[in-house]
């Protein structure tokens, strides 16, 4: 396996509704910033790939217009996934394994504020089997949380603890949207939103963008003082049909974790793409994260959740921490689909 590292990460602050910028204006600053960090021009990048969803903007081929923000002239080698940018990063990683390129640019953008995100996600991800029943993404997550509580795998108190920790950690993250000191007791006094979920158990609606630069080992050591090497990466998907899944477990995360080699060494911290507090509990268990592992030092998706961006942000955040020396080995995770349907696990290491 060719060693590949994250050598740059840039992001915009997540906001509830960015009425000012359209996608080109979201992409241009993060791509410029990421390239600036490593002193490269777009023409020097071997492969470029983006992650976004036209359903968020209600406009076909928005990812093509977004190219205006990166300067694709003379023509560049470019691709797109209609998914979170974490899967765009996976495509870039595969491309780098082929050996014909040494660098890759990955970017993602999402404006979750433009439509009713709860309805958009159902139409985007499952137009056939569940959409006619009209279950929105929050209701599905609530069913999952209910199953978890009924099985005795967690308590509402533990879910509130996850939120309180996220808000506290996010205080150190200038890009986070929701942050502050709250106690689990105060959170538990709030009303249910979609029972058993309270509003704070759900992710904020966020607009944002981020970009990552990947490089082969040789290039990475020249471009970056302390690259964050991807020593394992894998993604797995489960059935569309929620009735055939055990919603209290994340089998796909466990298989991806094993294939990515999560358990081959200790984990200093984890960045988990858990849009709902109950999902962080499921993921921590599937990844066998011990009590000593710091989870979501950035605040995670409960603090900022630009859809299509939040997964790639987990990888970028984890890599940044490693490059800063805040840890030597980290797990980054991204999810897609209702109730953690598809999961990507990435192991990042300092050397």
């Amino acid at each position: 396996m060719r060693k590949v590292a994250v050598v740059a990460f840039a992001q915009l602050p997540s906001v509830r509704m960015d009425t000012d910028r359209e996608e080109v204006e979201l992409v241009q600053p993060v791509v410029k910033d990421a390239l600036r960090q490593v002193g490269l021009r777009i023409g020097e990048i071997g492969f470029t790939v983006s992650g976004s969803a036209d359903f968020l903007l209600g406009r076909p081929f928005s990812f093509v217009s977004a190219l205006d923000g990166i300067g694709a002239w003379p023509p560049i080698s470019e691709s797109h996934v209609e998914m979170d940018g974490a899967w765009a990063l996976y495509e870039a990683w595969v491309h780098l394994q082929c050996g014909d390129v040494d660098t890759a640019l990955v970017y993602a953008y999402g404006k979750s504020s433009l439509g009713s995100i709860r309805d958009v996600l159902v139409q985007q991800l499952d137009p056939y089997t569940l959409a006619p029943l009209g279950p929105d993404s929050v209701s599905l997550a609530a069913l999952q949380a209910r199953a978890l509580l009924d099985k005795g795998e967690c308590t509402e108190r533990q879910m509130a603890d996850v939120v309180a920790r996220s808000r506290k950690s996010a205080k150190q993250n200038e890009f986070a949207q929701l942050k502050g000191d709250v106690t689990a007791e105060a959170l538990l006094r709030k009303d249910y939103f979609v029972a058993p979920l309270r509003k704070h158990d759900c992710p904020p609606i966020s607009d944002g963008a981020c970009a990552v630069v990947l490089a082969s080992e040789e290039r990475a050591r020249k471009l970056c003082e302390r690259p964050a090497f991807i020593t394992g990466i894998d993604h797995r998907v489960e059935s569309h049909a929620l009735g055939t899944r055990d919603l209290t477990d994340s089998v796909s995360t466990r298989i991806a974790a094993e294939r990515a080699g999560v358990w081959r060494g200790g984990v200093d911290f984890a960045e988990l793409h858990a849009p709902f507090s109950s999902q962080e509990i499921i993921l921590s268990k599937a990844l066998r994260l011990g009590p000593d592992v710091r989870v979501n030092p950035s605040g995670g998706a409960l603090a900022a959740n630009p859809v299509m961006v939040a997964g790639l942000t987990r990888i970028g955040e984890a890599a940044t921490r490693i490059s800063r020396g805040d840890g030597r080995r980290a797990v980054a995770h991204a999810t897609s689909g209702p109730c953690l349907q598809q999961n990507l696990v990435c192991v990042l290491e300092a050397s």
Binding site: V24, E25, G71, P127
Partner: protein, 163 residues
């Protein structure tokens, strides 16, 4: 043999969105309500984009400098629409064309009226026909169509880079 299922669940699919035009495109739209056309210049290659999306697509830098443009221009290419479809602006035949506004480096797409369809040609000089003042709004529909300005045709060399 089981009974065939005959019931069908009908579920209307409808999603509504708020469009964010963005900083640069908004500037263009707002000027249309003032019966003005504004372009945006790339600070690096100096090209003037009209209806810019916020960055120069070749240089990837924000097109922040606003440039007032004339409402006259040249037809660089066009097509005669002969086939009827839903929500047509006019009964066919009519002409849709790329119009290179004077001072711009990229054409806009609009309708051509005030001339027989078989007389429309590359190089035809045209002028915007605006809606009445009270109907002006932040939309390209503030221009109803372009019509011949009466000037001599533009030589091909003057717009060949924009075809």
């Amino acid at each position: 043999m089981s009974t065939p299922v005959k019931r069908v669940v009908k579920m209307p699919v409808r999603l509504e969105f708020i469009v964010t035009a963005g900083r640069t495109y908004s500037a263009f739209l707002r000027q249309l309500a003032e019966q003005k056309i504004v372009g945006s210049r790339c600070p690096e290659c100096r090209k003037v984009y009209v209806a810019s999306r916020g960055a120069c697509p070749t240089c990837a830098v924000p097109t922040t400098e606003r440039v007032p443009l004339a409402d006259t221009g040249t037809v660089t290419t066009f097509c005669v629409v002969n086939i009827p479809f839903g929500n047509m602006a006019f009964p066919p035949p009519y002409v849709a064309a790329s119009v290179l506004l004077d001072g711009a480096d990229i054409p806009i797409f609009h309708l051509i009226r005030g001339i027989e369809v078989d007389q429309v040609r590359m190089g035809l000089r045209v002028r915007a026909s605006w809606v009445p003042k009270e109907q002006l709004a932040a939309t390209l529909e503030s221009i109803q169509w372009f019509e011949p300005s009466g000037e001599p045709d533009a030589p091909y060399e003057t717009f060949r880079e924009h075809v």
